[in-house]
């Protein structure tokens, strides 16, 4: 039996196709202006990889900010539930998930069954979300996905004094103009974002083990900065952390399909 999960986020859309208990295929694309279009395209690509068509999918769950626009989804579920579900399915020891998305950040605590027991959420202030890094990458004229590698050669990450995205952007431009080392600036930005996300996580008390999901988790510099800000080692997942929401949706689809069948 085949099931699917589709996660339409603000910056990217992801799809996961599962056969019984295994991930058969997954795909990630940049989000299109219309969430419906993103969903169709990313699911089409994932199906192609799996050699399937939509008719083969017994059940599909949609999630993410654009979840209500996914025409082919049989049901929708919040990203919080999906991230929790998938993280614990991959790593049963995980009891806390920190998910930094393109326009929000979440800290989620789970019980032993993968059920969400507490969560904290920031989508009010861009400075505690992936948007912070996105805006700064634009200001420095570097690619978002290169920031992690660049920061690895930082010897003395700078302290960025402004929290606000708008004010920090100006500060970064002056640091560049003052000839500061790019790696130290990027390292400073990671430290700055990590500090804010750590404060969000502490608000619901840290649990063990903690893992990081979402596209930002692929940034090695950010991963290390968050470990430092939290003062604990994070569990690193082998699966692409960006598809965790879609994977959780597929897992929920599997349960629903089993119930239906």
């Amino acid at each position: 039996m085949y099931v699917a999960g589709c996660d339409v986020g603000s910056l990217s859309a992801k799809a996961v196709i599962m056969k019984d208990g295994d991930v058969l295929a997954s795909h990630v694309i940049f989000a299109k202006p219309e969430p419906e279009e993103s969903a169709r395209e990313v699911m089409g690509k994932a199906l192609e990889k799996a050699g399937l068509t939509m008719k083969d999918i017994a059940y599909c769950v949609g999630t993410g900010y654009g979840r209500d626009s996914i025409g082919f989804a049989d049901a929708v579920e919040s990203e919080i539930v999906c991230h929790g579900k998938a993280a614990q399915w991959l790593m049963p020891e995980v009891h806390m998930v920190i998910d930094i998305g393109g326009q929000d950040a979440k800290a989620i605590r789970l019980d032993d069954t993968g059920t969400v027991i507490r969560f904290a959420y920031n989508d009010r202030c861009a400075s505690g979300t992936g948007r912070f890094l996105e805006v700064m990458a634009g200001a420095m004229d570097i690619r978002l996905e290169d920031m992690g590698d660049i920061s690895l050669s930082a010897t003395n990450p700078l302290s960025i004094s402004n929290q606000c995205v708008v004010f920090a952007e100006t500060e970064i431009i002056s640091l560049i103009n003052a000839g500061k080392n790019l790696a130290d600036i990027v390292g400073g930005l990671h430290k700055s974002l990590a500090h804010r996300v750590a404060a969000l996580a502490r608000g619901i008390e840290l649990d063990h083990e903690i893992t990081m999901t979402g596209g930002v988790a692929k940034n090695a510099g950010m991963f290390a900065a968050l470990e430092e800000a939290l003062g604990v080692k994070l569990s690193k997942m082998e699966t692409d952390p960006q598809i965790i929401g879609a994977l959780g949706a597929a897992l929920i689809a599997r349960r629903a399909a089993e119930k239906d069948g």
């Binding site: 009010r124 606000c164 995205v165």
Partner: protein, 267 residues
């Protein structure tokens, strides 16, 4: 002998020349990267307009974000004290001053003598500061001043759901893409700005009379929305609200000169 005040802000630099009873001249220029140069330039303009030279100035007080870098001032004073002084000197009934600067916002409560009772500042978050309007004007391809004039023509102002400047920008882009009239965008932006500033003002406790100072006070859209939010009229001042900091600095300089001569006469 005249007194002078010079206010080096993040966006503009202002100077005011004062004799005993009236403003002789004022000048305003965009700030450069060099606060020292901006201060010298604006002061030269103000002196020229009054037909004076630096020798005619008995004392000069500096204020604003670049106040420590002004070479010709005898004393540097905070903008909060200067805005309070300037507004109280013009209109002694003023008890609350809302000053929106280029990268901050302040709500100041004063007593009947013009002494500061309480104040609160936001310089952490760009929304609710002049920077919010600056970002939005740029997005709309308008001059900052046009946001105010254009919003008067709006029939159906947009509502911005987000407070954060970064998110509000994304909302405005969606509206731009769907060809919402710019007047409606400008009006909605001004209202969002006022809503944010009103929260700050309320937390300091608004007491009548109330006035706004700083460049944003010239934006009629923000001014009207502030009146609605706070439920009180905004008193219009007879001097450009953008030079209020420099005016307050000049008044403080005048008092300093009077104090000095008072001490001398007692000797």
């Amino acid at each position: 002998m005249m007194s002078a005040g010079c206010d080096v802000g993040s966006l503009t630099t202002k100077a005011v020349i004062l004799n005993n009873t009236r403003v002789m001249s004022h000048a305003l220029i965009p700030s450069s990267f060099n606060p020292e140069k901006s201060a010298a330039e604006v002061m030269a303009l103000a002196l020229n307009a009054a037909g004076l030279t630096m020798k005619d100035i008995g004392f000069c007080v500096g204020t604003g974000y670049g106040r420590e870098k002004i070479p010709f001032v005898g004393k540097a004073v905070s903008e909060i004290a200067c805005h309070a002084k300037g507004a109280h000197w013009l209109l002694p009934s003023i008890r609350t001053i809302i000053d929106i600067g280029g990268q901050d916002c302040k709500a100041i409560r004063i007593d009947e003598k013009g002494n500061i009772v309480r104040f609160i500042t936001n310089d952490k978050c760009a929304s609710g500061t002049g920077r919010f309007l600056e970002v939005m004007a740029k997005l709309l391809g308008l001059e900052l001043e046009e946001l105010g004039t254009l919003s008067g023509q709006s029939r159906n102002p947009i509502t911005l759901a987000a407070t954060c400047t970064a998110w509000a920008q994304a909302e405005v882009i969606v509206h731009l893409n769907s060809n919402t009239p710019k007047a409606d965008l400008a009006a909605g932006i001004n209202q969002a700005m006022a809503a944010r500033v009103a929260i700050l003002a309320k937390s300091v406790g608004v007491e009548k009379d109330v006035c706004m100072t700083g460049g944003v006070a010239k934006n009629a859209g923000v001014l009207d929305a502030m009146e609605k939010h706070l439920g009180v009229p905004m008193r219009r001042l007879r001097v450009d609200p953008q030079v209020m900091g420099a005016l307050g600095a000049a008044v403080l300089a005048k008092e300093k000169m009077e104090g000095a001569s008072h001490v001398r006469s007692r000797l």
